[in-house]
Symmetry: C2
Subunit: 635 residues, 2 copies
């Protein structure tokens, strides 16, 4: 039996959130239960050192170690994932250890325009003016509704018990004028089969024709949601927030590891559904009471995210030969997995191609439309897990490459996500040997984000401060100096920085960036070669995903992340995953096309593809060992 | 806040079952919570007087009234539905007030033989020997299973999340040798549509090919269950019990009324599912662990029973124009409505034709097979609600007639169900002016069951003791005497009877029987005339249902319940409803045929059919006003 004495009261600063924690629980877990994010790239394994917190009062049970020096320990710093609750404590979570959701809270997707030629949603709403029953015709209510739907071309109908239960009351209260919603559901393994019609809801007819679908992009880092009016085809402004799972690891691998712990899977599912539910609450401000009229959600995420959200154990995704449990998803009830929608609302996950090419990529390809065009196209989503698709309307190949976390600020001494305080732009004046920083929201810099890292390294490379090997030319700039991790470049002195520390770029940071861009580039090369083509044959390069928005194309080519092609061939499509969900909601044929894309794609496991490793090794220079791939751009 | 003092401890005799009852709860409800049946034909409305109990000690809060005389009150008799708990009490439930389940506990359906020409269950089991995934083929688990099923001709597949979740583990634990169960599910409103395949279960392959379906007959009075081995086509012995709802009223109308009370519907659903669950426990003795391998239940009941079991409000069944919420049922999960089967197990209710011609009749017609034969056939199920079907392979008409409870012992002074102690046979010796009684189980008689009533009245009519008008010829037998309700016939003197009272037949009893048989007979006439035929055109009369088993055909013709036709035209098919469920489980085409039967049937609302009332009035004699309909049989 637990008694009051077994619980410690923890107060988290600066938010002053108080959490009762059982003795022995980690501070990370306690913070999480209190709704507070603490970075933990490694999923709480104690090996990333990102979850540093400061003990401002009371006690926790912790010791110094590999990721917590004696010196830091003496300064009352603790690793939240290793520190165990043992009594009342006040714990300060510094900015660097926080997932800053404020950026996302304000964010609204810029390019919202998604249109289809013909509005033909998979969810149909039929207004039925039924003949009320009498002695001459006392057909059962459900038969009456089904017959009227058949007259409107909706055959092959199914209904669930909950809907059937409420039907008699609704029909009588409305004088047998009903608005019936039917979802057309194709089978999982046969595109040609006629979809069956699921009667999702029977409601009294009214004058408001609006009904809605939800588009959900379930990203490893952030989650986006958008309402779509299926009567008008209008897509409303999207809203976003950090994926609550981020407290349990920043990349999919650490999430999968966490899911293997007792209750881990359940907890991760709860985190992401809570995030979605918070977004859904915000949508209520756009269209009050929309849930009553929202019948379906289309969700796209990478393979791991889909499994975690559905509560399906993702462990085999991580184990060779990387077999996901589910690629083509059955239609679910949203409420069944904890999404706060009406019981009738359905949820369809976009199909995945493989363990690391997920529904978000299929959705992005759908949104980009190149799968039905002639031009040879490279489609990429840059991130810790980078996805690459090459093809056109005749064929599609794809691969995932493990770029590592550099693009998202991981493995980088002052790396951070693209949030206020992140250095995202950089100009180097070779004459004065000084630089100009661009910082997000114009506040004192606290670190450097992925696109900032590319811009800094590209500019320093062009200035000759960084050489082909990614090393500093130590005599080319007075800002290059020796630091605790070897040579480093001083980006911002302590006095001008938010954290009160010098913000620097180290050679290790550059190495990590070179590894990341090399993994991507050798991926493109492998796919291009596999189909007997060359990089120059690419007529279009489509960049999807949050990272692409802030990407400086010239700088990305300079460091060898993007192929050296005329800039007009590049296209940024924003959150393609969310756009694809929107299209599927607006159009049944689009949803079928998504399933076609999934089936068309030939997946390459790069690590198993001959020649990939050689190509990768050749990328470990700036921009590349093979200079012919990167002719001078006229700097 | 309740305290211990607000609860009264009631002890029910002779079972000595103790129930804690809150003050104010009725004795009927308390007994029910204790698992004891007390007759309450009227559903606890206080208007049938069948729930008489004896207060042997303590107190209950009750008063004499219309259905409880001052004299009975003084003898400590109480109506269980009116008596409210007010303190500790000992309450004896006399035999006449009990639903005697012991008869059913022993019963095993005699005619178990049900066969189909081709074993083709709607639930298929496929043994899949899958190629385990490797680097060359890392298709998702579900895609792999679906592709292998497609190779076996099972396309258009759907799967639920629960099955998909467990699939990866099962595949790996079994070395990718899996037994996959697929249920083929046709839509509710289109017979021609291809059924979709629902992957119900994925289990490791083993050597045991047996898998099962359940047949369930949900009767107003009794519930029957039977296991069917779908691998061999073998139907196992059925088991039966009283429908637990019987404590809340004996006929469908009183159940519908009860369902309208607060919590009434929920309670009735719980009663019947508890009854089914008890039967399922007993089936475990036949095939231990069968639930693991039982994937579907086919259930047939009258329209009200189906709705109550599914928890759908039946109120409109009772209100003109008698529109049931559901006629063709969607496929349910058995567990969803409280049936104790595995989560994967499905449940299909037989479709109803109308509010009073239910799935049990459709199932019975299926079992009898006349819907595909040329002979003009009358199909009847005799009971409080009598159902009549007339037709052949080209057309089917049906009607329900409200016969009243006489056939089931209701409205009859010493009426009882066919259970031990019921007088079921009777011979009158005109020379000696005495009779011989047949009593079920050869115990002292306590009452007379429905078939016994027919036999007694027919025999007394032939002997001239009862005349055409259903009155006693008071001088024809010394056993006719004046009693408290007018003239009566002494069946068994108190000294020889179980209840210690004279068991008598009254003129009111005979009136009720004449009303009941007249309602049935005028029903046949109405349907026969509606299609331009005559009674003599009937080539076959099929009698289904529990009542038919003990029916003496000649006596039933003598009183005018059955048409006067050569005896060889009559056929008794037993529990046709249970047999039809068995057929549907064994054969998909049979299940489709059941749905065809439902669609083929033209339903007549007798009360709305011109001429029905005149015909009914003409039946209010023995055997009928029109003697030509009943030529002498050569008595």
């Amino acid at each position: 039996m637990s008694t009051e004495k077994d619980f410690a009261e923890l107060t988290f600063l600066p938010d002053r959130v108080t959490v009762k924690a059982p003795a022995g629980e980690t501070v990370l877990d306690a913070a999480n239960r209190g709704g507070l994010h603490i970075n933990a790239s490694c999923g709480g394994e104690g090996v990333c050192g990102r979850c540093m917190v400061e003990l401002r009062g009371g006690t926790v049970d912790a010791q110094p170690g590999l990721y917590l020096s004696e010196e830091d320990f003496a300064k009352n710093l603790r690793l939240a994932c290793r520190a165990k609750c043992s009594g009342p404590a006040e714990i300060f979570i510094p900015l660097e250890s926080r997932g800053d959701a404020s950026f996302f809270k304000k964010a609204v997707q810029a390019d919202e325009k998604v249109t289809v030629e013909t509005l033909a949603p998979t969810v149909k709403q039929a207004c039925l003016i039924l003949q009320p029953p009498d002695q001459a015709d006392n057909t059962a209510d459900l038969d009456r509704v089904a017959a009227a739907l058949s007259d409107q071309g909706l055959t092959d109908l199914y209904v669930d018990l909950a809907t059937a239960r409420t039907m008699p009351e609704v029909l009588r209260a409305s004088g047998f004028k009903a608005k019936v919603t039917v979802s057309l559901d194709p089978p999982i393994n046969d595109r040609a089969a006629k979809p069956f019609g699921r009667i999702v809801s029977v409601a009294p007819a009214d004058d408001d024709e609006s009904y809605y679908a939800l588009a959900l992009d379930i990203g490893t880092t952030s989650v986006w949601a958008r309402l779509i009016n299926l009567a008008t085809g209008e897509a409303l402004p999207s809203v976003a927030d950090l994926n609550g799972q981020i407290s349990f690891g920043e990349d999919v691998i650490s999430r999968i590891v966490y899911a293997g712990r007792p209750e881990g899977l359940k907890r991760l599912q709860l985190q992401v559904t809570n995030t979605v539910n918070k977004l859904l609450d915000r949508l209520d401000e756009q269209v009050p009471g929309y849930r009553q009229r929202t019948y379906i959600a289309y969700a796209a995420g990478n393979t791991t995210m889909s499994h975690l959200m559905a509560g399906v154990d993702p462990k085999n995704i991580r184990l060779a030969p990387y077999v996901p449990p589910i690629a083509a998803w059955p239609t679910l009830r949203a409420s069944q997995i904890g999404i706060n929608m009406e019981p009738f609302a359905l949820l369809k996950f976009f199909p995945s191609v493989s363990s690391y090419v997920g529904g978000d990529i299929v959705s992005g390809v759908l949104a980009s439309g190149f799968y039905e065009r002639e031009e040879l196209t490279l489609f990429i989503d840059v991130g810790t897990n980078g996805e690459i698709v090459i093809g056109n309307r005749d064929w599609l190949t794809c691969a995932a490459c493990s770029a590592g976390p550099a693009f998202e600020g991981g493995g980088v001494k002052f790396g951070m996500r693209a949030a206020p305080g992140a250095i995202d732009n950089f100009l180097y004046d070779r004459n004065l040997n000084k630089h100009y920083l661009g910082v997000m929201d114009n506040v004192p810099p606290s670190g450097i984000c992925g696109s900032g890292l590319i811009n800094v390294v590209a500019e320093l490379f062009r200035a000759g401060v960084v050489n082909k090997q990614g090393r500093f030319e130590t005599d080319r700039s007075p800002l290059v100096r020796e630091g605790e991790d070897g040579w480093e470049y001083l980006l911002s002195p302590a006095a001008e920085s938010a954290g009160g520390k010098d913000v620097v770029l180290t050679e290790i940071d550059i190495e990590n960036l070179i590894r990341a861009k090399g993994a991507m580039f050798s991926g493109y090369q492998t796919l291009v070669e596999a189909v007997g083509l060359e990089m120059g044959d690419l007529q279009r390069v489509i960049i999807a995903g949050g990272f692409g928005k802030s990407l400086n194309l010239e700088n990305a080519i300079t460091i060898g992340l993007l192929p050296s092609l005329p800039l007009e061939r590049f296209l940024y499509i924003g959150n393609g995953s969310l756009s694809g969900c929107t299209l599927a909601a607006l159009s049944g044929p689009m949803w079928l096309a998504a399933n076609d894309i999934k089936r068309m794609m030939t997946n390459f496991e790069l690590s198993e593809t001959p020649g990939y490793m050689d190509k990768y090794m050749a990328t470990q220079f700036l921009p590349h060992t093979d200079a012919s791939l990167f002719p001078p751009m006229g700097d």
